[in-house]
Symmetry: C2
Subunit: 237 residues, 2 copies
């Protein structure tokens, strides 16, 4: 298996992902939200690009929906919940459809539709998503959502940890950028210490979201692998 | 001073570099060649995109020219020299115009024309180019040429070393990717050990170019700062 890494949603190019397995990461916080909500009984997640689209889908849905997401890391006017994974407890998420739009993660997911399989990864489910990628037995591209089109240290080290989990199972061939992500993880098994330097971490900290940060940095507390297919993210295999 | 890093020639976007100081790096080997040739008395370097363009310029030049460069890391048919910096000794380079075309470095230089200043950097002149960037006192983008449009570990750590040299002089504000490049250098002051994992390093090693690799990894043995202006690279200030 060859593993490559794309460093931000803006850098996704069709020729890099077509026919491959993709793992989309936005650990702070969209893919942590998606993983948490589905683990807490959410029926499916619909990731969309605009606030209007999210509201329209929610209005016209025959199933009970919740609206979640952020702009500039804060809750959107008229939405039910923000982009905090801690919002999506079982009493909120169970049997609901979550329609969400965020600045980075939902963009990255929608930009990957030419991939063969689109898995959703975070620190929370790193081992599980690594295991699923191994089962799919295809070349892999780890897509870091990044922050507003820029490289983000948090997604990069999370990708490095997922690579470590895959290397624990099978032999892999890494591109230079994948080797560097893996190296960063190897030097920083305590990911929080490394992520403390990340601009997005500090933005969330300024907003008082320490609980989110601590939660999103927890390794392997969830065992599901969300997968995106034809517009929906479901709980996966 | 803000410092950002672009990870390959393919990722250069005008809005990221316009009005800024840029340092273009292709340490294996184009910017090591340029730095070495100019240090050995070469009058100027003309970096061009195609073999035909290089031959045309050389034919029509009134000054004595040498043709240098590579495709797939080997010398181009009809060219005088390859992309080995060790080819450009004083007896070859002195008072000549070097017309060169390479797979990555000359592309990256030509893609940066909207920057305010375009400096040419390598391990060989890292301290000197850092000092010049500090003098220019403008926001800086370190442009890694990369390898065939991909991230390259060698250029990344070289950028990290240049950032270290700048940090030794002034306070800087680093983007996440610049922080990561700097971190990689901090963990690997012996850059060769890190670069040994790089795909391009191994390609050059397979071609028997160990002497080039050792030379290109030498820190600060040249004190000039090549600068690109209006189609030419000159020896700088």
């Amino acid at each position: 298996m060859k593993i490559d890494v794309i460093i931000s949603a803006k850098d996704i190019r069709e020729e890099k992902i077509i026919g491959k397995t993709v793992i989309v990461i936005d650990m702070l916080r969209a893919t942590s939200v998606i993983t948490t909500a589905l683990n807490n009984g959410c029926k499916r997640v619909i990731p969309v690009l605009t606030v209007e689209e999210a509201k329209d889908i929610s209005k016209s849905s025959k199933e009970p929906c919740i609206l979640g997401g952020e702009r500039n890391a804060v809750k959107i006017d008229g939405f039910d919940f923000s982009n905090s994974p801690l919002d999506y407890k079982e009493n909120v998420a169970k049997d609901k459809v979550l329609v969400m739009t965020t600045s980075n993660g939902t963009k990255a997911i929608n930009a990957c539709i030419k991939a063969k399989n689109i898995l959703i990864g975070a620190m929370l489910n790193a081992k599980a998503v690594a295991k699923r990628a191994v089962e799919l037995n295809n070349d892999l591209v780890i897509v870091n959502s990044g922050t507003y089109g820029e490289f983000s240290m948090d997604d990069f080290i999370c990708g490095g940890y997922i690579i470590q989990c895959i290397k624990d199972c099978i032999q892999v061939e890494l591109t230079d950028i994948a080797k560097t992500a893996h190296y960063i993880y190897q030097c920083n098994n305590d990911v929080v210490e490394f992520i403390k330097g990340a601009s997005h971490y500090n933005r969330l900290k300024e907003l008082g979201l320490e609980d989110d940060l601590n939660y999103c940095c927890s390794k392997d507390i969830i065992n599901i692998v969300p997968e995106y297919e034809r517009g929906y993210i479901h709980k996966g295999m």
